[in-house]
Subunit: 306 residues, 2 copies
């Protein structure tokens, strides 16, 4: 079943200890869609300028990502650039030019509105809510946010996530949103805000899934080389929701099947790990579903005990 | 089968966001022994001053920890004090008074020398080697070290760990010892130095076991309250080696049974997690083997997926 992905489509400039790229395809919706498309049909909602390159359109289209919702307007595409620390655990933003993204006001094409799955990338909470309201037949909806919205748009954000089935955020954001340092307490408080399913991403240390009264801890994959972590969190989100949508998972009595959720978190970790293996979206130019499933089994091998 | 534990026995002063204790029983050998004693008979090797309290002797003795190797000399017991940061991920040492520990030169009682299991706590590498040389019937030996020895006593340390079956260190020490930032590369290099089994501790994020060509990732237990992390790493070591000794695990063709090693890492994590639930060694005054096994099963519940 089709998944609607909403968020930024951008160009990025990135410098890591492994090299420097001045301009390459990026943006949350791009990474989410590329990752999710291995599992389910994807329909993208975003905005780009008239500088958006044909080859980038072609890459997305080659993955059968529906681009009817990718608005193209005069002006320049969102541009972000940053430089990573030596251990790649921190990054400094050098430039953020919102460009045409500043006026992003997503309107879903008619062909998108009846779809059952929705992943809202990190954008203004009111816009996230507006998209959700355009989809009357939703079965599963959730998304991402960031420190800026948590701090400066708290009430709007709370209203938005109250209607979500799941929320994916990183650990510092979970602490900021809940006002609790302890992760278990933070999760309980956030679950009380609406999303019954919460995934807390911990970078190289993996992710923790909170569902109902239980939780599940997924390790981060131990890569031999991390070339570029840009987009890893979005690819996690794409693998997570893509897997659930592909399997047709939906809440039953308000709850999602815990076994499917656990597998979804592992597929998220798998997609995040592949993302780091090359610059930008490059790994997805060659990645196969067979490689994805092999890495899923690797996660089983390196976490199982009896 | 009995386990010999060598290391510091101390008094600690600790301040965490949950409170402040001016003086309480501590030291690596204390924590290791208390944790290991749930799994196997323990014989402790250490040194204390004439200020060492009867009630602390009684606590250790009540756990059937053999104290024939706990030397008592005129002077004061090793004292350490420190204060933890608000999130308890960092700590600042306020005082380190080595006292009688400065002249620690462990000589094993005759009744200790025939034992098969040895855990060398973090002391001068030459002393660690000297202890090992007093045990001709060893089946499994390994231990811990720290940044100071890695930096200032590198050659001695390399000579010492070359004879170890396993090494337990934290991630920053693994990076320092190997000169590699990437954990997988760091582990491969350290395994080349001697210890075929390496456990890299990552604090609240758990631990990674490297054995042969494989690895195993154990999450950190999500506690609702961390009262005092002092000794958690030592309790991890105690649970790890205690479990292996209790099961009579020994190398076969140079390798340890991977399934037993994985269980040992989980028991290590279990013991480390209990340690944090109260100040100092307090949790071990009431902890039962049934609670330990219940938490082991909790680790299974929160990591399993198919």
């Amino acid at each position: 079943m089709s998944l609607i992905v909403v968020g930024s489509v951008a160009y990025d400039g990135v410098e890591t200890p492994h090299g420097k790229i001045d301009r390459m395809l990026g943006g949350a919706a791009t990474y989410i869609s590329l990752a999710a498309a291995y599992f389910t049909p994807v329909k993208l909602v975003g905005i780009v300028g008239d500088d958006f390159a044909d080859e980038d359109v072609e890459l997305l289209a080659s993955r059968h990502i529906d681009l009817a919702g990718l608005e193209r307007v005069p002006g320049k595409t969102f541009f972000w650039s940053g430089v990573y620390s030596a251990d790649m655990n921190d990054r400094t933003t050098l430039r953020t030019d919102l460009n045409v993204f500043a006026d992003f006001n997503p309107k879903l094409p008619e062909t998108y509105r009846g779809e059952p799955y929705l992943l809202l990338g990190n954008i203004q909470p009111a816009l996230q809510r507006s998209v959700q309201s355009q989809m009357p037949q939703l079965k599963l909806a959730g998304g991402d946010t960031m420190n800026y919205w948590i701090h400066d748009f708290r009430e709007e954000l709370l209203e938005t996530i109250a209607a979500w089935d799941f929320l994916l955020i990183n650990d510092s954001e979970a602490r900021q949103l809940s006002g609790q340092h302890n992760l278990r307490r933070a999760a309980a408080r956030i679950q009380g805000m609406g999303p019954r399913t919460l995934v807390v991403k911990r970078g190289e240390y993996g992710a923790v899934l909170f569902h109902g009264d239980g939780h599940f801890m997924a390790p981060g994959y131990l890569l031999e080389d991390v070339f570029d972590p840009t987009g890893a969190g979005d690819c996690f989100a794409g693998g997570f929701i893509g897997y659930l949508a592909g399997r047709g998972v939906q809440p039953s009595g308000g709850n999602l099947d815990p076994a499917e959720l656990r597998r979804a978190v592992i597929y998220g970790s798998v997609m995040g790990s592949f993302c780091c293996e090359k610059f930008g979206v490059d790994r997805f130019r060659s990645l196969t579903r067979a490689e994805i499933d092999a890495r899923f089994r690797e996660f089983q091998t390196c976490t199982a005990f009896v």
